[in-house]
């Protein structure tokens, strides 16, 4: 049973906005997704009805707020197949989740010369935290290279991960759309005794996710890319791993006891959630995963594969050799993220031209500068799709690209 995209679109208030009397074509969901009314209403209801600080209050509002928060945690745990809700640690975004892991696990498990393996297609959120540990601890970074078609080149995997303490790989590239073989890499990592971390920021929003099947020890992802609000992200980790990790931020809620002489830490998940949590945002993310579940993640993925196939076909048919789509050629092996190069028009200019027709795409390095260096470009123009996009959006994109010819005097 396939999804009714027109009906889904109607669930997203922003998508009915018009600018200069023309509809908006939102193709920047890899950057941040739009939000269904169900998510906005859940947060609004929380504030208008149950707002109070959590965990500590005996009065009814505080109980309702705590129940709402823990209910959302359970929903999110279920959504990613986490065995225990207390393994879902709330952070402000995926970036904080990666830093939490790097600072807490990293500083307590790594020392000079220890090896962390990344890939050439990582987002800065999975690079800079490790550079910081290179500076602080003298660890060594190794990089799994990519092929010309934008896939991980695993030929040398065994040599690369030999002796590694950690392997950290994005489950899906935010530039190329590549879906990486996380299970295979995780198994190889475990075989050499390394811990496996994955960046699920682009994966969790778009594919059915089961952390146990992925075989990873920890995963970071971010709320605003999966129909949820800003200001909320998640680090998931196995109970065993998280229990062995020292705290990251210190303050209220993460303690068991505090005296002038020291402190002891609270149980999971509180140990890693210092201070007042992003309560409304957690509630909103809970509503987002419930919305996605109501569509069915299999269906969401199916729609995106077919829309990606349509987009690749359309763009190739209309622009031929003038247009390059970076990344894997096969829609089933990638997400709906299309990094484009068109003639000699710079991505930034392309994005400006498209904006004139209300087509929203992103131009730039997409926080993946090392990948840009490997690709030999300064930037790409990236159109990215989600469950609310349809073939008409793709056609609008193609029309807008065509209009660039006129402006840049490239027309036949």
């Amino acid at each position: 049973m396939s999804l009714d995209i027109a009906q889904i679109k109607a669930d997203f208030p922003l998508l009915s906005r018009e600018i200069n009397g023309k509809p908006l074509i939102y193709l920047d969901s890899a950057s941040s997704s739009q939000k269904p009314a169900a998510v906005l209403d859940a947060m609004d209801h929380y504030y208008r009805h149950s707002n109070a600080n959590v965990n500590r209050g005996a009065y009814q509002l505080a109980v309702e707020a705590t129940d709402a928060l823990e209910g959302a945690r359970a929903a999110i745990a279920r959504f990613i197949g986490a065995p225990n809700a207390h393994e879902v640690i709330f952070t402000k975004n995926a970036t904080e989740a990666m830093n939490l892991f790097a600072q807490s696990w990293g500083r307590s498990n790594l020392s000079e010369g220890d090896v962390v393996v990344l890939t050439e297609m990582e987002h800065h959120a999975n690079i800079v935290p490790w550079h910081m540990l290179v500076q602080a601890l003298g660890i060594e970074l190794r990089w799994i290279p990519i092929t010309d078609s934008g896939e991980l080149d695993l030929t040398d995997l065994d040599r690369l991960i030999d002796g590694a303490k950690l392997v950290s790989v994005t489950a899906m590239s935010n530039v190329l759309g590549t879906l990486n073989p996380i299970r295979r890499i995780a198994d190889a990592a475990h075989a050499v005794g390394a811990v496996m971390l994955t960046d699920g920021s682009q994966y969790v929003p778009h594919l059915p996710t089961d952390v146990t099947e992925l075989g990873v020890d920890a995963m970071a992802f971010t709320g605003h890319k999966m129909l949820g609000p800003t200001g909320i992200g998640v680090l998931w980790g196995t109970t065993e791993l998280l229990e062995a990790m020292p705290p990251f931020l210190g303050g209220g809620d993460m303690i068991m006891q505090v005296t002038k002489d020291g402190f002891t830490t609270n149980d999971l998940p509180h140990k890693f959630e210092a201070g007042t949590p992003a309560i409304a945002e957690i509630v909103g993310l809970g509503a987002a995963v419930e919305y996605l579940e109501s569509l069915g993640m299999e269906q969401v993925r199916e729609h995106e594969v077919s829309l990606t196939a349509y987009a690749m076909r359309t763009l190739t048919e209309r622009f031929g050799e003038d247009l390059t789509i970076h990344g894997p050629a096969e829609p089933a092996g990638r997400g709906g993220v299309l990094s484009l190069a068109y003639k000699d028009i710079h991505p930034h200019d392309m994005s400006q031209v498209l904006d004139q027709r209300n087509v929203c795409i992103r131009a730039g390095h997409h926080c993946a500068k090392p990948l840009m260096q490997v690709m030999g470009v300064g930037a790409t123009a990236r159109a990215s799709m989600y469950v609310y996009n349809d073939e008409q959006d793709v056609d609008s994109l193609a029309d807008a690209i065509e209009s660039a010819d006129d402006i840049f005097g490239l027309g036949g």
């Binding site: 965990n55 500590r56 209050g57 005996a58 109980v63 705590t66 809620d253 303690i255 068991m256 006891q257 609270n266 509180h270």
Partner: protein
């Protein structure tokens, strides 16, 4: 909606005002464990003195907290004093089961139809399950008892 009379039973207030077995025991021979409720700040200290036959010869509790955590500690001490470790564990299980009725559905008032665990005074705490945030108060001393017994069981 649950009324406060379900929570603050006479017998609970009596244990709160006149706690049984309040104090300390010398360690060793006694084993000591400390429990915290990190949310509200309640603290319980449990001392158990176990003889060679595995019987809780003496027990004492200290710390501070609300009427529920303090009365529960007092009742706990009275309930397990003179009992074998096995008996104490069984009573603890029974008590914690009573406290988790909430999770398996409070509304149906299963609480009253459950097999009587002959909990004596302890059954006065049954009403706590209607106030879910207070369950942690009621079980704090019992978890601390488990810690102390665990300590005692560990070869020193």
């Amino acid at each position: 909606m649950a009324g406060l009379e379900d929570l603050y039973k006479e017998i609970i207030l009596d244990h709160y005002r006149n706690p049984r077995n309040k104090g300390e025991l010398e360690t060793p021979p006694a084993h000591k464990a400390e429990g915290f409720n990190p949310l509200c700040g309640d603290e319980i200290v449990v001392y158990v003195d176990i003889d060679d036959d595995g019987v809780i010869q003496d027990i004492a509790t200290g710390g501070q907290g609300c009427s529920i955590s303090q009365s529960s500690a007092s009742m706990m001490s009275a309930a397990v004093k003179g009992k074998s470790i096995e008996e104490a564990l069984a009573i603890t299980d029974g008590f914690k089961a009573m406290m988790s009725i909430h999770e398996s559905g409070l509304e149906s008032e299963k609480a009253d139809t459950k097999p009587d665990l002959s909990m004596g005074d302890l059954s006065a705490l049954k009403g706590v399950v209607k106030f879910p945030v207070r369950i942690k108060c009621a079980v704090l001393s019992w978890n601390t008892l488990l810690q102390a017994l665990g300590d005692a069981a560990r070869p020193s």
